[in-house]
Assembly symmetry: C2
Homo-oligomer: 380 residues x 2
């Protein structure tokens, strides 16, 4: 049989199989783990009434901006649309797309609107710690409220989803993304640009505060830590955010068995969030999941009529779970020797077996855990 | 609470929510249907021992070529890699990626190699009948054999997957993609370019054959039809492809209850296939699935050392199933009035309910099928 590829007159290519930096093949069992983890996370979310939506991978570059926050222009992987000549971009996250859907096609749907999603996102550049440019994300967004009740539902659901996925030692780091701006606008004004203050606090650089005229903020850095201790220290500062502190206390109380910390000034990665932000951490069978497993918080969805709508949600990073060894199962596959009737195969599959049928008398049960001996499945 | 978007000094944008032509949002219940159908198709495949792989969405443009057939350069949606400056492209199909994986990372894995996949593919241009440019595909590839046994496993599995997804009146159209070239090389040489003969036969244009000096091929067009009739007519022509005709007869016999036709000269869309190609059709609750539901056949995987390896596989088009109304379920959601204890919610979810918890006393059970009255789930 002749080979089926055709060169279209361009001559043979060098076939290296190299992938661009930041992209990879998932092979078994990791590819199955990723799919299984995505199922588990989204099943947990569906069980709490969140309905799946599936936005496209590609949008107009301008369409990916503005619903929440304009993505940094360097973050987008761009394509040119041969149909329109307009600039397209691959989505760098899905939350912004959900906000778009909530503000347009589902603008008239009853609130609160509970939506779930799962799929890949792409970025133009990998990070220093993680060169990946394609990520599998799962998430949920509750649109129409960012009340304590809404935040509690979202945060406990995120933790429940991770627990269902097998994550242990789950910890949650809570932050108040608007705290610093609120204080700078009123209680503790600073002579420096707000961005410089945010940068120093995100870097936990107390030494930089005096030069910024922002020594007042040093106790906020020192307050970070386990929830009970952090709340006590923050309350001692008599800040004009008592309701938010009460809310953090309530959230921590809603997560028994979860280690909760508070980092009140952390804003990096929470640029579009409002009163609440949170990061999730935990362990898999191969040790601590590297970096964040997910994050979320409250935000406002912008509508085209100029109004905004409160929301709260989270995104979970499936790749981080896979890389920590979660979701891996040893497949139980039953080898059916050559000549096994197809009706027998049907029966065994109906009993829950994954079958591998020999195509010829010389096929061997490689990759199988059991072999059918005509009477029963014998373990190999 | 202030709105959370930031304009980065570029002024307000017009927020239209418009998507590029050929891209769309899937909303509930269609988004859930797409996810459920993908699960069902891949569960059917997994039950026959096919292991999931997950290649990236993006590759070097050159890397997407050559493992099977070079994609038409106009078919690829391209991006430029800011990291390398090299040309990237979004995958137009997944079969070529599976061939790459089989020829490189899994070159030394035992054969036959059974791999499954599911995910989106993207194209630069929509078609005349279907403007979509993003498609959700699921498929399976058996690498290491294109024997009748291998083809039978693949084709019966494709039909079983569609049946599990709820497709009725499944029909299969079989073709012999190499037949015309085989005949032209030996039995019935033609003075015209082979591509012209293929074009005339793909167009079923018997009237064009005399001008091509190819009247001998007219009986092949006339032979197309239901399998038994087509095989009888083809055998009467005494062609040098008796083993292939026996194989088609055997394949048809392996599909009881499936309407099998044979279109022996069809090659459009089977450009890289070898002895066998097939297309799948059927009906959903809202009528016939528009166009093909999937296709597959035998082919050769090219290895970098110049050898090739026989394979057979299929791809199924999840969007076609969703658009025909398949996979839609009416969600059973149980509204939990404000104040329902979270332990009650846990218990009800453990019983299989999807719960929707009121966030405030004014929340209503919109979107729910049942409401918890403190004792039981009452239908609404």
């Amino acid at each position: 049989m002749p080979p089926a590829w055709r060169e279209d007159g361009e001559g043979p290519q060098t076939l290296t199989g190299l992938l661009p930096e930041g992209f990879r093949d998932r092979l078994p069992p990791q590819a199955e783990a990723a799919a299984a983890l995505l199922r588990t996370l989204l099943d947990t979310v569906a069980a709490r009434g969140y309905a799946r939506v599936q936005p496209p991978l590609v949008e107009f570059e301008t369409g990916l901006s503005g619903w929440l926050m304009k993505p940094a222009s360097t973050a987008l992987l761009r394509a040119t649309d041969p149909a329109s000549g307009l600039g397209l971009a691959l989505r760098p996250d899905i939350t912004g797309q959900i906000a778009r859907i909530a503000a347009t096609r589902l603008a008239d749907a009853p609130r609160p609107l509970r939506l779930a999603y799962g799929g890949p996102v792409l970025r133009a550049k990998g990070g220093q710690l993680n060169p990946a440019r394609e990520f599998l994300q799962a998430g949920a967004e509750l649109i129409g409220s960012d009340s304590l009740a809404a935040a509690t539902e979202i945060l406990t659901m995120a933790v429940a989803a991770l627990a269902a996925a097998g994550v242990t030692d789950i910890s949650v780091d809570l932050t108040l993304p608007e705290l610093v701006a609120t204080l700078a606008a009123d209680r503790w004004p600073v002579p420096c640009p707000l961005a410089d203050l945010h940068a120093a606090l995100d870097a936990k650089d107390a030494g930089a505060l005096p030069a910024l005229g922002a020594t007042a903020y040093a106790p906020l850095l020192a307050a970070a830590g386990p929830a009970a201790q952090a709340l006590a220290r923050l309350r001692a500062l008599d800040l004009p955010v008592a309701p938010q502190l009460d809310a953090l206390e309530s959230l921590a109380a809603a997560l028994p068995g979860t280690h909760v910390t508070i980092d009140p000034t952390e804003r990096h990665g929470f640029e579009y969030h409002s009163w609440l932000g949170f990061s999730l951490f935990g362990r898999g069978p191969e040790g601590a999941v590297r970096g964040e497993i997910g994050r979320g918080g409250s935000y406002a969805v912008r509508h085209s009529n100029g109004t905004s709508e409160a929301a709260v949600g989270f995104s979970l990073y499936v790749d981080a779970l896979v890389d920590a060894g979660l979701g891996i199962t040893r497949p139980r596959r039953l080898f059916l020797p050559h000549g096994t009737p197809s009706t027998t195969a049907d029966t065994l599959r109906a009993q829950g077996w994954a079958t591998v049928a020999a195509l010829s008398p010389t096929d061997t049960p490689q990759g199988c855990s059991h072999v059918w001996n005509g009477v029963e499945a014998a373990a190999l």
